[in-house]
């Protein structure tokens, strides 16, 4: 028996959810009384193994190969398939990121396993691999048993806590699997300095009520709070924000510590995407807006007047 955690790094930096996956992996390995292997794929990534060690991996497989310098589906899938063949894990945990959702279903099909995506927790109950996950874009939660092995669990960011643990930390190096060349990497573009919505602790989001689509106050507040900017579908449809900012049933599902909804009425589809936020604050000029019925703190007021004051107050705290 073994648990495998597939980590995700871009340009030498791990996704936060990779640490969460390792922490959850260690917990599952302890429950199964077995060892945990962590896989890191990339090129020139020697130094990354140290970083992983403290989260309790017994074995760290480094697929360090120039062919893996950039993420590309087929090479990553085939190299991970080699690792799965060798390690024979019963449970495989990874982050439910775009890349996680690209790799995991393909590997799952290859090994005729079971997969649960966007999970908020995993557990072993009576020897069975179980997970909790949102369905209908967050409107419902389902507890499932994963019936096949390997069981793939893709964890949603910000769902489990990061915990350091002891592990043997033996390092093993392998090469990339190059047998397939059906995909070619052309280029990668990263938005410099933009905080990822799904990993942010604080999200300041705007909707149709943002005056003339001017998000500058929302951006400023989010920056002071070191958070990310989100948007309702209405704001995205207006062309005020990119699609990647959309929170809701057909956009991203987020679980920050604080979600500040500015000028968002709170449609059921939007709510589905942010209902698991720990604290919700809403600012809206319409006191009848449905968002208030589900918010911890509500402010009835004109955004263009309230936001500058909120920024002033937050600046006082942040010194």
């Amino acid at each position: 028996m073994r648990v495998l955690v597939i980590t995700e790094q871009i340009d030498g930096i791990f996704r936060k959810v990779s640490y969460e996956a390792l922490s959850e992996g260690r917990r599952i390995a302890d429950a199964m009384n077995c060892e945990m292997t962590a896989a890191i794929l990339g090129s020139g990534i020697d130094n990354l193994a140290e970083d992983i060690k403290k989260y309790g991996a017994d074995k760290i497989i480094l697929a360090d190969d120039p062919a893996l310098a950039e993420y590309i589906t087929d090479k990553y899938v085939l190299t991970l398939a080699d690792i799965i063949e060798k390690e024979k894990p019963e449970v495989i945990i990874l982050g439910s990121t775009s890349i996680g959702k690209d790799i995991a279903p393909r590997l799952c099909a290859k090994f005729n396993g079971a997969i649960a995506t966007d999970c908020i927790s995993a557990s072993i109950e009576e020897g069975k691999v179980c997970a909790s996950r949102y369905i209908y874009g967050g409107k419902l939660i389902t507890d499932v048993i994963l019936n096949r092995k390997p069981a793939f669990i893709a964890l949603r960011a910000n769902s489990v806590s990061i915990k350091e643990a002891d592990g043997k930390g033996e390092i093993e190096k392998i090469q990339a699997n190059m047998q397939d060349a059906s995909l070619t990497f052309i280029e990668k573009k990263m938005d410099a300095g933009k905080k990822e919505l799904t990993e942010a602790d604080i999200i300041v989001a705007g909707g149709r009520g943002v005056n003339e689509g001017d998000f500058s106050a929302i951006e400023e507040l989010s920056e002071i709070l070191q958070g990310a900017v989100g948007a309702s579908r209405a704001a995205v449809d207006e062309g005020w924000r990119p699609h990647s900012d959309q929170v809701g049933q057909t956009g991203k599902v987020v679980s920050p510590n604080l979600y500040i909804a500015c000028g968002i009425s709170g449609a059921i589809q939007h709510f589905a995407g942010m209902a698991s936020s720990k604290v919700i604050a809403a600012i809206n000029k319409d006191e009848e807006a449905p968002i208030f019925a589900k918010s911890d703190y509500g402010v009835v007021g004109d955004l263009s007047k309230v936001m500058p004051e909120v920024i002033k107050e937050v600046k006082k705290i942040k010194g």
Partner: protein, 260 residues
């Protein structure tokens, strides 16, 4: 260019879905059924490719009698023909079985490009697209916001958190859609009239050469379906001026909720 769209009918996102009596299912009797929004992007993209390069657009779905509506809607948008795999043995499949059925059906069809939604907005498991590509042994690119076909190659821009990748794949290939790829057209009235006469083949599992035994058990067993903890209305912040409201809000977030 033979274009295939994998389509699923789902409850519309405006629908209130609730927990079934057995607490292991989702009540869907009163919901409005629509084409999965991500599959609508797939239909639109296939139509755009057809308009630019010629070819046919085939809608492929697994479902029951009700799913005919969804296929007809796609035909009304402009797709050429539809295939509905309608077999009681497929009704209780989860994604694991569906991907096998789709792959089996596709083995008898010529295709250059398969377009699927990145996920269905009901079970949200992101499995079927990539798994179908794996079973067919063709490359896939997921969450595509832009594609360009030249010769026998498709160049795709794929979104990831905080950025994007551009990959090139040899055809035949499968891509899945991401919001931003296009704006799906509405079915026009003439389109709706024409759709009634377009071919829609209904097939059983036996017709496509697969049996219930080939599908295996569902990969997930549902233990319980529940509502997320219901949020209740909290405090309405009081104040006479924007400055007072802001000060009270920030104080509450800082001192009481301790989130900033």
């Amino acid at each position: 260019m033979n274009l295939i769209v994998l389509l699923k009918q789902v409850p519309s996102t405006e629908s209130f879905v609730s927990v079934g009596e057995d607490k292991k299912s989702v009540k869907t009797e009163d919901v409005k059924w629509v084409i999965n929004p991500y599959d609508e992007f797939a239909v639109e993209e296939a139509l755009k490719i057809k308009e630019a390069l010629g070819g046919t657009v085939t809608i492929l779905t697994v479902g029951n009698d009700k799913a005919v509506e969804a296929v007809r809607t796609a035909l009304a948008m402009g797709a050429d023909n539809g295939i509905l795999i309608n077999d009681p043995d497929a009704y209780n499949c989860d994604g694991a079985g569906i991907a096998k059925i789709l792959a089996a059906a596709l083995k008898n069809i010529e295709y250059d490009l398969i377009i699927a939604g990145q996920r269905a907005v009901d079970d949200d498991n992101y499995y079927v697209g990539a798994a179908t590509a794996e079973f067919l042994n063709i490359p896939h690119v997921s969450m595509v916001i832009k594609e360009e076909i030249t010769d026998k190659t498709i160049k795709c821009t794929k979104t990831i958190e905080g950025g994007s990748f551009v990959f090139e794949a040899k055809l035949p290939a499968l891509i899945t859609t991401q919001r931003g790829l296009n704006e799906p057209r509405y079915a026009s009235l003439p389109g709706i009239m024409k759709a009634k006469k377009k071919p829609l083949d209904t097939k059983t599992l036996a017709d496509i050469g697969i049996s219930a035994a080939d599908l295996g058990e569902p990969m997930l067993t549902i233990k319980e379906v529940k509502k997320p903890s219901q949020r209740e209305a909290g405090v309405m912040i009081q104040g006479d001026t924007p400055a007072e409201l802001a000060a009270a809000l920030v104080k509450a977030l800082h001192e009481e909720a301790k989130v900033i």
